[in-house]
Symmetry: C3
């Protein structure tokens, strides 16, 4: 499959007479794809049941006839105002119990049955009309599920649905709910929280002190399942009417639903990549890194998500929205350095993307995103991204097709574990994402290409090293599969620390057959209270008290065991800093013949099998491996380098 | 007109037998004015419709007979508890949707029709009774509109009024609302936010992510108009019954309504000046400045407001409340250095005040402000302010009358632009007020006397330099007037960046006829990410990417244009630091023959035509221009110096 | 009375067959007490009115037969879910007006009459059944009143009760409320806040700006009285059926109700001591101290509470819950250094505790506290605390009985003053607790044993020095008693600054007969704005302007009086730093023959009459007084040392 480019376009925002010229320019710059429609419900159905197809028919024709392939979005992230007259209770309710209001987007509650019906209706209408349209080459469901924390709603609809979900999960005879089973699973005897009936169970907000972690975890799983179910309604309808592949555009570092579960229903995954916004807003970067990469973005954050969505899409994925200039939503909104648009685009391809679409074609002069750059300025003049997109399009002509090979190392990334850490961080600012990202960064610093695996992975053939950081609940068959694999496996900290219902298991964690290590206790550590390792580096943030008769690979300077080996599995009882993490992973790679190479600051490498890509995130030139890397640049080498 | 002093007095707080002695002491210390009545509704009308005039008649007589002139306040900032039985829905509602409760002050919603009627009723009663009273020499409406963020209410009453306001603004045939016009003006097509009817429009709070900026701006303008309308009801009634001038006492750095619009209905403006509270609470001072001036207040903050209210009052203005000692409401509440009461008082006169009234006469031993100093302590002994007030009164006897001449330079200050920046700061902590205040501080540091002008100013005759920083929307006739004027004009950053409806205009900003400069893009910058200018100083916080064929006056060290000249107007594409701002303004002044002089730290100068005032905010003595300035002192020189 | 140990146990959490072995191990380790039942309502009364006594009968028999004495808790902190069907309005309401939900604990409003009735019912049932049980040797009412800020509720029930409380307090003829008396007492004339009827008074939340301080203080007193009344219902019932002593387990640094008032109804006091959690969460320690004592806890925080609860229990007190390892609720949760469990335990005994109970016996693998360490791990293996408890039990066999002698110095600690400071701190982060704790720390640094006295103390015989820091209202008879005592008394800052109704008194404070000092004004100071004293040290945070003809003992370097003596009473007009506080107290001790000794960092001493205890909180060994103190250790010396 060819690597392709695209853009996001809103014909409804612009006069009809601009469309043909826009389409022509898109083709001219070398774009293949144009995504449309995903916020246009009020234009498609201005009044309940009265559809206005003409403009959309026209737009699809104009764009398609110009030679563009269309990704058609379902408009369910922006239900029109008139829908509230029909479903006044469809609004999401926040943790403070406040119903959110109309006037932005994503104001619906995933659990509202009436709204789900409306979505089925509009999707059916769209799919019927355009399912066989030759220009419509892909579908996108909704937009950025979970963005603005919208996967979690405390509405009455959610309460009803949660009870029903619980009944099914804790079911007795006749598949009806068994409240005693729930009470036992949650340990409700603690603090007299036993329920007599499922109808008594509320959503876990506004309690006096924290709610039962098992209650919270059930709610988080329920919320995720509601997103999955919501999405599946749309997918099922589209499939009935269209053979075009279906995707959803995930948003970076959204952890409030299971992306793999939604992904299982998609044909390919896609995500929205805003490197500068993410650096300021969600990459967890320290002050130094923020200042160094303020116009480049975090050198690992996009790569992590690329690898994640390659997994979510079972190998097939896109960047559906690529930042083309300053955005409007981060605490500070600088412009990318010249060259970054090209670098980001190639980075996506280096990780296996099939397409990269720039968001958006033309900066819109009105409404919420008027300060969000586009490929064109509001006056249709070319913004900075245009020339870089054109350059990439030119380079793509001579480049190999999409190529993906299995990486030599892998990390398991488990949304369920993330919920668990959210609920019980045990220390300020500790999060599952940060731990996994630290492991990922350490691997990247060693020059490794990395696969991300879902919690459901059981086949690890071909991997030299598999990391399982912080996975709160590790099912027995996953333990067995890891032990049985040929890979060196690093589990911990906090891996297998909880049962499926978020109880501490007995025997105590991690309880890995063949590995003699037991976590006797845990501590969270203040900044500055790190524990030194005998071989260099530190354990910070989180440390465990290990009892072991196993093979101790790492010790603190006080002689406490930190890393223990046995049965082909290592367990680490703490959160290593980068120095320690890199050394530990490097040693594992050495043992399994996985090549590592320590990269200079700001340099990254990624191998696809067919090519090796070198990225220089620094604003200065770097020489490495005999290659001269220009400032802020990508160097593509055919084969390994 | 003589410069005069006064105080704020609450006869209802003290036994009747204290009044005559209080009045005698006020006269003795040299006070002319006494403001009363503005919180006394429950004493004037203890039960609905039952008035208790005796005490107020008596108080006015006692004070007036002692030789004092009375400013009579309408008590509408503190509706009594019984009013809630009649109008339970009159309470303000905050952005979280919570109705505020009785028990402090300003608990009313400006949009509540019933409450507005009650206000008309009590003002009518007061005006009828005292409109012709010879002791009542001025009126004050309400108290500190907008204080405690009360200009903005999300009540049901506000919703109804907002819809009505929108209908009038976006009117179709028959002056009825045209919802399509509103949808177009706001760009509601974005995110399917179109409305089918004005009745569907809610206030812009509690949306999932930010509401449409145009929606927000309309709401902010509506809120301001509601304050204006509320005030006008009172003014119109008072004018029917009294010839005494009418004022309102504005509060420092309240930006939630248009003070000029309210001021248009007043005979003179007044404001409440709390320099130490402001330094801690709202002057935006950095840590160093806070520590240096902890007992003096910000050396420019009061001056700015003096100049602002001189403009709001069209030349006539007072300080209605002057801090006399520690207040109770700032994060830290120190006492002024000895001499500061006198300095602050003279500073007001230096900027053209007709009167300065100390708040309050006697520290009240009960309720919310018991820790707020007065001229007397609760036991009637003299607090520190008394001697300084007496000294000023003595000095006033020999001083010239109020004198005001046009300043050589001016800044346009636009409340509408402030709303616009609030809605769309684009960078953390960026505010319109800070930008304007930075420009003002730079001018003050150059020894300039400054006029502040409203956004409606079109005549700039007599000014050498006019600054238009950050004015989001610049109407075409203002652009023309600025170009046509003889003044050197400095516009930007962000000037003319939006249409009246808060859309990005095409052609792109600033679109100033005769000035070849276009803003291609903008960036907000983290602290520490400032851009150096070739001539010294920096652009920080906000920078624009300028395309120009014009005359470039300032460049970054990287050669990017920052300040461009043409058609007598300069445009600056960034937020300058003090060093750059001072140099730029100095150059403009030099070019137009406006005298500047760089002042030492903590020294300020102000010319009134008749006199030159030198202020030393430092705790140490300073010699300047051959003048010896004592620590914390004012030196008045007749004529220019 | 012997010093004893105990633990907290939840038989309802564990299989029946584990109980006997648990009991055996408790006895084996040397425990005397086991507390049970306090969260078990849903197990005792699974359905309304249907009691399940068997398991509890059984548990009491098993534990008692094993030789343990039982503290039986009333389960009223955790009303079961079914109760909400009966009393849906019993839930606490927070300051934002949000009703809290079921799902954790302490969700009841103290003012709800129906819930109080339910509590009476369950306590009656328990007391009847077990009042004469020979194993039940003590009772505990509820659990940690006021924890999670639950003493303060803004519910409808609280509103009704508050009005009734006010009627009684401001009573006219026929003991009915006199609203004019309330208006006068509160100064409601200010801002027209007068009420016409008690029914008009709301709770003081959600006002636009701060409510009347007198209104707030009345509410805080009411809230405290509601806790007292709630507790008294239980105490009265238990006393009818049982001769066993009654306690309540207070939580550290809970200041939202008067612990002395509740204590007056108890037979002994007890408190829950979590030194590491407190260090991070509530001891107000600076960064250095936090880092130094991260695994030891604040060296004075527990001691302060020990002395406090000795006073609350009128000499008799326990630690009901002693931290045995990491907890789950602080921002960071490290493990204690080896030896700290022993140190903490002995520290309690050194301050006169009768018993120390470890919380909890076995770490529970489920629900909210699964990360809270116990004496056993979830798998029943011994956690770190076990060996230390065993060591203490061994040491106790040879140790003297509980011994308490009057300390040579005392501090008055007044919950009412704490409310007053909460309401009117006058400076950011100023609190009554911090001031008192600073005084306490200064005394501890001088090697003093200290008594804490309630505000009702009038007999000071035997004390050399009495401190009265920050006591907002000092009744006349307390002033007289202090003047009349032989002790050197240090009052201030802010002592006697308010009337009982929170007004500023005239004559001005402190108005101490025989002491010529008047507070003319006060200031709060930014960090870094401290005022130096001529004799060394500083006044920081809060300083008063003193007028005095008395004997000046301390001056600022600028010559202002800070400490003034007269009539055997000294008044200090500011908040001293540790250096100044220690010098001042030392001087007072010298004058009255109280022995002081300046202790090295981290070393503390406590004398009980029979013994002298030396504590070394440092992680390194210290030599003092010829004693070698091991790292993190206690040294017990018979007699004085």
């Amino acid at each position: 499959m060819k690597r392709t480019l695209g853009t996001c376009y809103y014909p409804e925002h612009w006069p009809r007479d601009v469309w043909p010229e826009d389409a022509r320019r898109m083709v001219d710059v070398g774009l293949t794809w144009v995504r449309i429609g995903e916020f246009a419900w009020s234009k498609i159905e201005p009044d309940p049941g009265k559809f206005a197809w003409d403009w959309l028919d026209d737009a699809i024709t104009v764009l398609g006839d110009a030679g563009l392939k269309i990704v058609l979005g379902t408009p369910t992230a922006t239900p029109p105002r008139w829908m509230l007259a029909v479903h006044p209770d469809m609004l999401a309710v926040d943790a403070d119990g406040r119903s959110r209001k109309f006037g932005s987007r994503r104001h619906y509650c995933f659990s509202h049955v009436g709204y789900r019906g409306e979505c089925a209706r509009i999707v059916e209408a769209l799919a019927k009309r355009y399912g066989a349209n030759p220009h419509v080459a892909a579908w996108q469901t909704d937009n950025e599920y979970g963005c603005h924390e919208t996967a979690i709603s405390y509405s009455a609809a959610a309460t009803v649905a949660f009870r029903s979900w619980l009944r099914a999960r804790y079911s007795g005879v006749g598949n009806d709910g068994d409240i005693a089973a729930l009470n036992a699973a949650w340990g409700n005897v603690f603090w007299s929280m036993d329920y007599g009936d499922f109808e008594e169970i509320e959503l876990p907000n506004l309690t006096v002190t924290e709610p039962n972690p098992s209650h919270q975890l059930a709610f988080r799983r329920f919320c995720s399942d509601q997103v999955v179910a919501f999405n599946r309604v749309q997918v099922d309808i589209i499939r009935t009417h269209s053979n075009a592949p279906i995707t959803h555009n995930y948003m970076g570092k959204v952890t409030n639903f299971d992306h793999f579960d939604v992904g299982a229903d998609l044909d390919f995954a896609s995500w929205d990549s805003y490197p500068l916004g993410f650096l300021e807003d969600r990459a967890g970067a320290d002050q130094d890194l923020r200042e160094r990469y303020i116009r480049q973005g975090h050198p690992d954050f996009q790569a992590f998500h690329h690898d994640l969505y390659r997994a979510v899409g079972r190998g097939r994925w896109w960047v559906m929205e690529q930042q083309p200039g300053p955005v409007n939503w981060a605490p500070y909104n600088p412009a990318p350095l010249p060259g970054m648009i090209r670098l980001w685009t190639w980075e996506a391809f280096a990780h296996g993307a099939e397409a990269v679409c720039y968001f958006r074609w033309r900066q819109v002069p009105f409404a919420q995103e008027q300060m969000h750059a586009g490929m064109l300025r509001p006056d249709s003049s070319e913004a900075a991204a245009m020339a870089e997109a054109r350059a990439v399009a030119r380079e793509l002509r001579a480049a190999p097709d999409v190529s993906n090979v299995q990486a030599p190392v892998a990390i398991i990334y488990d949304y369920d574990a993330s919920y668990s850490w959210d609920i019980q961080p045990q220390g300020r600012d500790l999060s599952y994402f940060s731990l996994v990202f630290d492991a990922y960064k350490a691997m990247r610093a060693l020059g490794l290409s990395i696969d991300i695996l879902p919690a459901t992975a059981r086949d690890f053939a071909g991997y030299g090293v598999v990391l399982v950081p912080g996975m709160s609940h590790v099912p027995d068959d996953l333990k067995s599969a890891l032990i049985a694999s040929d890979a060196k496996v690093l589990m911990g900290p906090r891996a297998a620390s909880r049962s499926r219902e978020m109880q501490i298991p007995v025997p105590l964690p991690p309880d890995i057959p063949g590995l003699d290590v037991t976590v006797l206790g845990v501590e969270s550590l203040r900044p500055g209270q790190a524990v030194k390792l005998a071989s260099g580096g530190k354990i910070h943030k989180y440390i465990e008290d290990l009892e072991t008769g196993g093979d101790i690979l790492e010790l603190t300077t006080d002689g406490a065991a930190v890393l223990v080996d046995g049965a082909g599995v290592s367990y680490i009882g703490g959160w290593p800093d980068q120095r320690a993490y890199q050394r530990i992973i490097e040693t594992m790679c050495d043992a399994t013949g996985v090549r590592t190479r320590r990269l200079p600051e700001g340099v990254r490498v990624r191998e696809t099998g067919a090519e090796t890509f070198w990225f220089n995130y620094n604003a200065n030139a770097i020489e490495i491996n005999g290659l001269e890397l220009d400032p802020v640049s990508v160097r593509r080498v055919i084969g390994r380098s």
